[in-house]
Each structure stands twice: as structure tokens, then as C-alpha cells.
């Protein structure tokens, strides 16, 4: 894999296809709940809550390598990423290397996030990590 942190995304997509914002927030919640994870994504409070610019680089690398695909859509960044056959094999390898507790947490977070709509997802993240919502454009709306 071209990007050293892409394994986390593959491990999540193994559980469920997710769009980009769901991937971003799931990765954030995993760190939040599992505690410090070595060599993990660095998040900062951005315009829509916690954001790691590395996630975009990792997704772009996975697409270039043919490990994930997105269905054609006029708004490609709104649609879910799916694992390709090669991606599924890489995802299996990625989860084998994970600590069992961390793997359990990752799977639980992915399932939880995949069931949430966009609005509910942001609300969950902002409730859990309000300090990462400080720059968010939606913090006022989500409080209502």
C-alpha cells in the first residue's frame, strides 16, 4: 500500500461501504474511543468538525492503486467507497495485524457510523468531542 495509514480505511470498508465524511468521522471516533494509536491520523478542528487532511491523501492513494472504487455520480465525494477484490485481500491483511481490542473497537465504530445519517453523525461527533466543533459552521445548527 502506497500510504502508510491507508490500512485503517481498508479495515473499516471491510465492515461497510462508507462515504468520505463517514470515513473521516469513523476514523476520528476510533481514536477518541480507543485512546492513543501509534502512527495514526492527526485531526484538527475544521469547518465541519474534526478533519485530517491525510485521510484525503490516503483515499486518493487507495483509488490510484485500485483497492477502492466509487460508483459514478455527479457528486463523487458524496458517494460511498467500496473495496475491490484486491482491496478485500489487503483489508484482510490489515485487520490481521490489529490488536484484537482495537479491531473490535474499529468494527463497532464502523457499524455505528454506517447506520447514521449525515446530520446524526455530525451531532454524535460534536457531542462526543465538542472541542473539535469549535470551528464548525454547523455547531449552531446542531445545538437546536
Amino acid at each position: 500500500m502506497g500510504h502508510p495509514k491507508a490500512k485503517w480505511i481498508l479495515a473499516m470498508l471491510r465492515i461497510s461501504p462508507l462515504d468520505r465524511i463517514h470515513i473521516m468521522k469513523a476514523l476520528f471516533l476510533l481514536q477518541r474511543r480507543a485512546g492513543e494509536i501509534p502512527d495514526y491520523f492527526q485531526f484538527e478542528p475544521y469547518l465541519y468538525g474534526p478533519c485530517s487532511f491525510e485521510v484525503y491523501d490516503a483515499l486518493a492513494a487507495l483509488e490510484r492503486e485500485g483497492l477502492v472504487v466509487r460508483p459514478l455520480d455527479p457528486m463523487p465525494h458524496w458517494v460511498a467507497y467500496y473495496l475491490t477484490e484486491r482491496g478485500k485481500k489487503e483489508a484482510e491483511k490489515a485487520v490481521c495485524d490489529l490488536d484484537p481490542k482495537l479491531r473490535e473497537c474499529l468494527e463497532a465504530v464502523t457499524r455505528e457510523v454506517s447506520r447514521l445519517g449525515f446530520y446524526e453523525l455530525l451531532k454524535r461527533v460534536y457531542d462526543e468531542a465538542p472541542e473539535f466543533a469549535e470551528n464548525s459552521l454547523l455547531k449552531g445548527v446542531l445545538k437546536r
Partner: protein, 235 residues
Amino acid sequence: MTLILVLPTRDGIVMASDGQVTAGMVRTTGQKILRLNDRCLWAASGELALIQRVEERLKTLSPDASLQQLRDQICGIVKQCVTELVLLDFRTDFLPRQPSVLLELHPGDFVFAECLQSPAVLHVLVNGTPEWITNRPFASGSGEMFAYALLQKYQGFDLNMEQGALLAYKVLEEAIAVGAYGLGPPIDVWKISNSGVKQLNGSEKAALEDASRALREGEIQLLMGEIRATKENAR
């Protein structure tokens, strides 16, 4: 077909454009925002032949001069290029000798942006007339009416550069989505501050895409929430 957007903010200027270049029946992509020098950007809508000719001449300008100092030279270049094209054009001899008629042969609209002590946005019309754009957004090209309509509700708000970049991105995205005027991706976004110019990279633009989606969802939720609240109050 083009949409160029210039958005002055509290700490600089955001400049954004669509990325579709249309030549006859053929559609391709291209860079529409260009560097005049290390501190100043420019872009244009209109006829490609005119824009290319102006671009060639702009390269001869001093890289150290400010936009204020270059204003009349830029206007001279635009006027000269239009004049040359009109004289070269086969159709010219068959048209009435009226400036408005002749200028319609080679449409063009030029905008320059620089931020030294304060933001400076210069609009140069195809006839060579300059005007400074102060304290308001500026849009040029076939999608300009979409942009002004989408920006109208933000008039008078003191945006920072991040908010400005998001707003510019969202306006471009929505104009591309609805415009039947040959607008298309990729969206290009630049920030101009007193430390220079910076083009947003892929991951920075991806983050803006997601923030733009959040803003749209927020608008919808706000409206639907109000509708739900109104219904509940009515019961």
C-alpha cells in the same frame, strides 16, 4: 464558458474558477487562474484567442510593480490586443464602424487580484476601461449571475479566508451543478494574502468539498427543522 469568482475577505482574497475549457464542440479542462507575478493573480472570461494574446503581453510586465502601478499598462495591453484582433478579423470589413458592434466580435473580461497592505481587485473591460472592485465579491463569465445570486445573502459579512474559500467553492460547485453554460470541474481555488499566493492542493480542496456538503446539509436541516417545529406548534 467560464465562471471566475473573486472574494475579498478579512485577511486576503480568495480567487476561484471552474476548470472547463470549451472550444467549439470540444470540451476539455484547463487552468484559468494564472500568476501575473508572485503576489498577483489574474483570470479572464471570453474568447480564447483574446485571452491568449493578452497572456503573451502580460508576461512582459515588470514582476516587481504593484497592480496600482501596472493598471494603465494592463489596460493598454487589453485595448491593443482587441484592436489587433478586430483588424485581423475577416468579418470586420462587413460590419458597421461602431465600437459596440466590433467589440462584440471578440468578447473578453479580465480581473486581477493582489493583496499588499489591503486587497486590490482590478476589473478591466474588453474596451480597456479599468475599475477597482472594493468591498464586494466579483464574478465574471457565463455563470456570473448564478454566483451573484448565491453570494447575495452573504453580502456585508466579515468572512475570514477559510470561510471565503469554502463559500467560493460552494458557489462554484452549485453553479456547475445547475448551469447549462458549459461550466465544469475541476474547481480551482487560490488564496492571496500579503505573504503571496497559494493554490489549494487536492486534499485541501477535498476538505472544502466535504465542508461544502456539510454547509448544504446544514441549510436543509435548518429549513426542515423549522418546518417540523412549525408543524409541532400547529398541533
